[in-house]
């Protein structure tokens, strides 16, 4: 509840309209002026906060777009053809990049079906798959 209302003994949530009317009738012009000034102050603050929220939301939107761009770049990097002996190092690096991407998703607390789709489409980025590839290559060399 607003501080001013508390000091005036007013609580719009628990006081009934009749009770509020009774208190309002007993108010002097000084108290009413305090109410007016407080309404004005809170209105200005409200407008300012709305502008701030709006600008932060615009920023968040641009971050999301940037994130989508990063995902595309990572996907392109993972899909780029590599000579056989480069595979291990690059798969490791790609997986590392993916880790950051997933942490970005969770920090936003956004259910991102797109992330799951990208991960599914590029299973070679998963360390188990990297280990499996390495194992089969070593077995082949032996």
């Amino acid at each position: 509840m607003a501080n001013l209302l508390e000091t005036m003994g007013l609580d719009p949530h628990s006081n009934s309209t009749t009770e509020l009317h009774k208190v309002a009738k007993d108010m002097d012009s000084g108290e009413i002026m305090d109410l007016m000034r407080e309404v004005e102050r809170l209105s200005s603050e409200n407008a300012m906060l709305r502008v701030e929220v709006e600008s932060l939301q615009v920023k968040k939107q641009s971050f999301l777009e940037e994130r989508a761009e990063i995902v595309k770049l990572i996907a392109a990097e993972i899909n780029s053809p590599l000579p056989e002996n480069e595979a291990d190092g690059l798969n490791g690096a790609s997986f590392y990049l993916f880790l950051f991407y997933f942490r970005a998703c969770s920090s936003l607390r956004v259910h991102d079906a797109h992330a799951a789709r990208v991960a599914h489409a590029h299973p070679q980025a998963h360390p188990a798959r990297v280990r499996e590839q390495r194992g089969s290559r070593e077995a082949h060399e032996e």
């Binding site: 209302l5 009413i32 007016m36 209105s43 690059l90 936003l108």
Partner: protein, 90 residues
């Protein structure tokens, strides 16, 4: 200015104290109750907006932190790629 104050023809910025006192004395109980309700509504709304601002600022900070880390990893990745390409040529 608040729409309610505008409706009541009250402007705390341009009206003098004497004018405001006069207008305040003319308000009936319903107007005052409306002011009380408006005040409470604004206080709740402002609290919610402050919480939303804080949440968005945390998201912003987290994004900036991740962007720094991604840039770092990308730089490392590029260096690795160049090194591996050199190795494969040799």
């Amino acid at each position: 200015m608040s729409a309610l104050l505008e409706l009541l023809d009250i402007d705390p910025h341009s009206n003098s104290n004497a004018e405001l006192h006069k207008k305040a004395a003319e308000l009936d109980a319903s107007d005052i109750v409306a002011l009380v309700r408006k005040l409470e509504l604004l206080a709740c709304e402002n609290e919610a907006l402050r919480a939303e601002n804080e949440r968005l600022r945390m998201v912003e900070a987290e994004f900036e932190r991740l962007a720094r880390q991604i840039r770092l990893v990308c730089a490392r990745h590029s260096a690795n790629r160049a090194r591996l390409t050199r190795m494969s040529k040799n």
